[in-house]
Symmetry: C2
Subunit: 309 residues, 2 copies
């Protein structure tokens, strides 16, 4: 799956993942109204609105980008119907040829992480049969419980040729409270980065490992250091756009080959029509606005990579 | 909700939470067969087996214990049908008067944690209506992203009078890799414990805070230290039984008032019939075996508390 991701990045020229994080305030009125007319102002109605909204965006951008990243929390908050919208979104994006990164940030003790791993990336045994549950291509994993919470994911990745992105240095303002603590002379995120590099050596695709890392665009200096610590790891970079990361901040996350990083933008793309810059599209044109925002983001990253020293 | 938890612990004399972590290998053949006969060897069949198994256990133990803790991973692995079994289990346990601790270990950047918080503990807005999704009483929370990933949960807890247990020192063998790192002269788990204590001061029930902590029974020495750092926090203690924790290890987690801790046992209770000690119950008697195991565990803890120095 890492080979597919690399191949699609090369083909599209866009090291971009579109974050499908559908907050209700992003969803155009007309979509909400149609969904509520059919299902009422219920969890089912919310889930239908999310699904229709996502479908519009995916149809508008699937040929431009290699991957999407649905944030499961935005679906889970609407209970079972929300989870059904998540599953429908995952399946639809895969049909469209997109690589699907489930942003689930799961992680637990060994036997429990195993359940998450098979549920999101692998298969479960039911009696004599094998079933697949959420079946994303990649998942994000929280390392706070240590390696026995991560290894069950790695095992499933090896079996399935899928991948994970381990949280190393997250994009949010308070990420440093734990992640930047200096222990044995270096910050915790460097130690986690070293672990990612070590795990990754057992999990190589053609040029990159399928054990990757999450490092926020909001921390370019840490990105530069982690890029060196984990030369074969793909870095999933959230925090571009709405959270403040800019194109020029991103160059440190890439290797010399112009690969090794994939930049996420969520509201900057899916709610582009709410920005002044794309306001002319209007709510009806939200999907076209998303397409325009992807093209601008691709250009911003290409420029930044071209101008790097 | 912390007052309800404390009240029920006093009433039952059992500072015990039963972990509803239904692995397929725990579920008696006859239950699996009935479920598969009706739904096939499908995710729906697995979910039905889980639900029937849980119901049997809950009916056998609800009068003896204050709380249950379904581990969502064990349901999530079976996709949407599994999540429906989770929701059904949560609702049924609440009907039976049990406090429900959703062991979800969620945690993300601020706006995303907010979605998890409302989805598991609070309410979501859909159009003009208010809906509730999973609606547990407590949830477990992963602190790796720092305080802006935890605060949205605290806000919902304050609104709903519900609670969280923050992962401080987990029970698994590799928990020390990150959690024990010495930074500024003390291990990371102490720092997180101090944060829990500080957050908890704004969230007091009658005698205990509704911001609690997870500390594994497998680390009694750390439990003793954390007990002092967080005097008003309830400690949720996993790792008793199957993971190796013993009654005598538990005393350090309790305060002088005999309160302040609630001990989890999962397979030690729900799969008791598979142990030599309770083998006489047989698979048909799995629920009675669970009841017997709860009574033995209550006695083990009471003895340990009585014998403490």
């Amino acid at each position: 799956m890492i080979n597919k991701l690399v191949g699609r990045i090369r083909q599209t020229g866009a090291p971009i993942v579109v974050g499908l994080d559908p907050m209700m305030k992003f969803i155009p009125e007309q979509i909400q109204e149609r969904a509520f007319a059919e299902y009422g102002e219920t969890l089912e109605g919310a889930a239908e609105a999310i699904w229709q909204y996502n479908k519009g965006i995916v149809d508008a951008i699937y040929d431009l980008v290699p991957a999407v990243k649905p944030q499961i929390a935005m679906y889970e908050q609407f209970g079972i119907p929300g989870m059904m919208a998540f599953k429908k979104t995952v399946d639809y994006c895969k049909e469209k040829g997109l690589v699907v990164i489930g942003d689930v940030k799961r992680g637990d003790i060994g036997s429990t992480s195993e359940a998450y791993a098979v549920g999101h990336l692998g298969k479960v045994q039911v009696g004599t049969k094998i079933c697949r549950s959420f079946d994303e291509d990649f998942a994000t994993v929280n390392p706070y419980l240590g390696s026995d919470g991560v290894k069950p994911f790695i095992k499933v990745c090896q079996e399935e040729k899928k991948g994970i992105f381990v949280l190393v240095k997250t994009s949010n303002p308070s990420s440093g409270e734990l992640q930047d603590r200096i222990a044995e002379g270096r910050p915790l995120y460097e130690m986690v980065g070293e672990q990612v590099a070590a795990w990754g050596e057992e999990c190589m695709g053609d040029t990159y490992s399928y054990i990757g890392a999450v490092v926020g665009a909001t921390y370019p200096e840490q990105g530069r250091i982690l890029r060196k610590i984990m030369p074969k790891a793909f870095i999933l970079v959230p925090g571009y756009g709405a959270q403040g990361g800019k194109g020029a901040d991103l160059v440190h996350f890439f290797n010399e080959d112009g690969l090794g990083a994939i930049i996420n933008s969520s509201r900057g793309i899916i709610a582009a029509y709410q920005q002044d810059k794309y306001a002319a599209y209007g709510a009806e044109g939200y999907a076209d606005a998303a397409r325009a925002a992807v093209l601008d983001m691709r250009e911003d990253i290409a420029q930044a990579l071209e101008n790097r020293g």
